[in-house]
């Protein structure tokens, strides 16, 4: 079927959108603070220019290069490395229906407690909890009785890497009919810095019966699977190689811990931000 990003027709039925494949995608390698990682990144579609960003092969940003003023609360800082967005189109000139983005960035706490290391599994876990609270902790509905996001869900410690790494999702509250989903993959680069890969899945609102009132259940009109499949394929292609310095930091961080303590937790249930 021909899926082009040109929109001439309107959607009238359930559609499985099509996006780029991973097979021919080039591999993108970045060496950040000496730690080398690479992922397969499909080529971006044309009409989303202005969103894409590629960094140099080697980066070691100084703390003043980090973007701090993200919100009023400057707890976490960020340095963007790679950004992409891929359109997922309907067949025969229905045009873009959904998209998957990818943002790879270095994040760090603006004021980290001295003596702690992100290579320590417990520090790493609490940093992730803190990061999720920073992103979604204040997003509540129904006078604070329901939280808009559940994170982390589908927690999965990743094996086969030289350092600890974890994969999880943040999903919108289905009770409030929010169809949001973000896939995360996080691993430590240095004692202070984490590498964050976010893959937000976004679907258009579908206008079938009215021009101004969208259909209430997007799941009945656009399939989410193709976007999730590509995001999984991208994350599966991840490779990490630690530098000597990072290895030393890691050894120092897990010194004196037993085998159980060196692993990430198997279960990490969604955080609760509602006060009740």
């Amino acid at each position: 079927m021909f899926s082009w990003p040109i929109s001439l027709r309107k959607q009238t039925r359930y559609i499985q959108p099509r996006g780029p494949g991973i097979h021919w995608a080039p591999r993108k390698t970045v060496r950040a603070f000496g730690v080398e990682f690479s992922v397969k990144v499909p080529r971006s579609s044309l009409n989303v220019a202005g969103e894409s960003l590629s960094c140099r092969r080697r980066v070691a940003p100084h703390s003043s290069h980090f973007e701090a003023a993200l919100t009023d609360n400057h707890k976490w800082e960020r340095y963007s490395l790679i950004s992409r967005r891929w359109n997922f189109n309907g067949p025969w000139f229905i045009g873009p229906l959904a998209n998957l983005s990818m943002h790879i960035s270095i994040v760090s706490l603006s004021k980290q407690e001295s003596g702690t290391s992100m290579f320590n599994p417990r520090v790493f876990e609490s940093a992730i909890a803190d990061l999720m609270t920073y992103y979604h902790g204040e997003q509540l509905s129904r006078n604070g009785a329901e939280q808009d996001w559940f994170a982390p869900t589908g927690w999965q410690p990743l094996a086969g890497f030289p350092c600890i790494a974890a994969k999880f999702e943040a999903v919108g509250n289905s009770k409030l009919a929010y169809f949001w989903r973000e896939k995360y993959c996080i691993f430590p680069l240095t004692d202070e810095h984490l590498l964050e890969i976010v893959l937000p899945v976004e679907r258009n609102k579908v206008f079938i019966h009215s021009r101004t009132e969208p259909e209430s259940d997007t799941n009945q009109w656009i399939n989410e699977e193709p976007m999730l499949e590509l995001s999984d394929q991208i994350l599966n292609s991840l490779e990490i190689r630690l530098s000597d310095k990072a290895k030393q930091q890691q050894e120092r961080a897990i010194e004196g811990l037993n085998v159980q303590e060196r692993k990430l937790t198997e279960r990490f249930s969604p955080l609760k931000w509602t006060t009740e």
Partner: protein
């Protein structure tokens, strides 16, 4: 024995002022629910309770008369609309206000958050993308930028063009660092442009009425904040025009608040919008609009002459003359590029294209593919 008429339940003003009563016990129950919501901290419920209690001193600031509708005792029907609550009431001969109908919809805010209803969002850069968060009112900060977006099918796809529009008068650093507020309207088609009925009479488009009411409310409540910049993006000029029309019918004035307006790539009648802005005492900078692909090329000419008529003090003849040439800039640039091919052969082409072409290409590029233009500019 005759059954005594049921005593209507008094909601407000039992001891002093004009009484507000509920017509049926169900409505009284709904009012109690509303008060409960307000106590829990629901923004709009608190506003509604405030409006109802304001009725006791006969203040009706934000209500509308439903035209053509009459109660059984032939009184006017008033309507109050705030997100999530719709309320209809009338005034009896004995000066009591009586509430006929009241509907509570606590899911409105959720629909707004999901991008299914028009709403105000706070937009902030997060790395390479924008983070949006539902807001009830304009951030009370001096010189805040508020954009009025065109119709988009997603909030996240409305944010980048809105940011681009806001950068035109405000500058890049302001928007990237401080963020901005965005009034979002859901829909699958852009407003105005080649649809002449919409472009020429934006104040009559029914499908954006709800959005315009909300925007009017936001604008009215933000008057205490100094120097808010209202920036419409593309067809958002239609929503802004309609909102300003509503405000004018309510005799709202922005005198002394130093609020400015800017129409970025307007897609509806510019002259109408400009006149309404003058009526409301909103202000203009030296440049108050930019043209896009869907903007009428004649409007800058009409708007410049009109602006000189309305504001001959600060808008000089020279400025008007300069603006008159600006409108059909893309057209003129394109024609210059084409004519240089025909007239001067190769040498003429290189010279002509060099001079006229660069401006034309720049303007054309910005008009046709703004995101590609931004990307190239970002690399240079």
């Amino acid at each position: 024995m005759a059954i005594p008429p049921s005593r209507p339940e008094v909601i407000a003003g039992e001891n002093a002022g004009t009484r507000v009563v509920a017509q049926t016990p169900q409505i009284a129950q709904a009012c109690r629910e509303l008060a409960k919501l307000a106590r829990q901290g629901d923004y709009w419920a608190a506003r509604a309770v405030k409006y109802i209690s304001a009725l006791t001193s006969r203040q009706m600031k934000t209500v509308f008369v439903r035209e053509g509708a009459k109660t059984t005792d032939s009184q006017k029907v008033y309507v109050m609309l705030v997100p999530g609550i719709s309320l209809e009431f009338s005034q009896r001969a004995n000066s009591d206000f009586v509430i006929h109908r009241m509907a509570l919809d606590s899911t409105y805010a959720e629909l707004q958050k999901a991008g299914e209803k028009p709403a105000l969002f706070r937009v902030q850069r997060r790395g390479k993308h924008f983070q949006t968060e539902l807001a009830n009112q304009v951030k009370p900060e001096k010189f805040r930028a508020v954009t009025v977006s065109d119709r988009y099918s997603r909030v996240s796809s409305a944010a980048p063009p809105s940011a681009r529009a806001a950068k035109e008068p405000m500058g890049q650093s302001m928007i990237d660092r401080a963020g901005f507020d965005m009034h979002f309207t859901p829909g699958d088609e852009k407003l105005g442009g080649l649809k002449l009925a919409e472009a020429n009479r934006p104040e009559r488009i029914l499908s954006i009425r709800e959005s315009a009411f909300l925007l009017a409310k936001t604008m009215e409540e933000s008057r205490d904040t100094t120097g808010v910049y209202w920036i419409s993006e593309g067809g958002g000029s239609g929503v802004l025009t309609q909102a300003m029309k509503i405000l004018k019918s309510r005799n709202v004035t922005f005198r002394g608040s130093e609020h400015h307006v800017f129409f970025s790539k307007y897609a509806t009648d510019l002259v109408k919008a400009q006149n309404l802005a003058y009526d409301l005492n909103l202000r203009f900078e030296r440049t108050a609009y930019s043209t896009g692909l869907l903007s009428s090329p004649l409007d800058p000419v009409r708007a410049s002459i009109n602006r000189r008529k309305r504001d001959s003090e600060s808008y000089t003849r020279l400025q008007m003359a300069a603006d008159l040439c600006k409108g059909p800039q893309t057209v003129v640039g394109g024609v210059a590029l084409l004519s240089s091919v025909g007239l001067g052969g190769t040498a003429g082409f290189i010279l002509g294209a060099g001079v006229a072409g660069f401006t034309a290409l720049n303007a054309l590029g910005r008009a046709v593919t703004p995101s590609t233009h931004d990307k190239l500019k970002g690399k240079l």
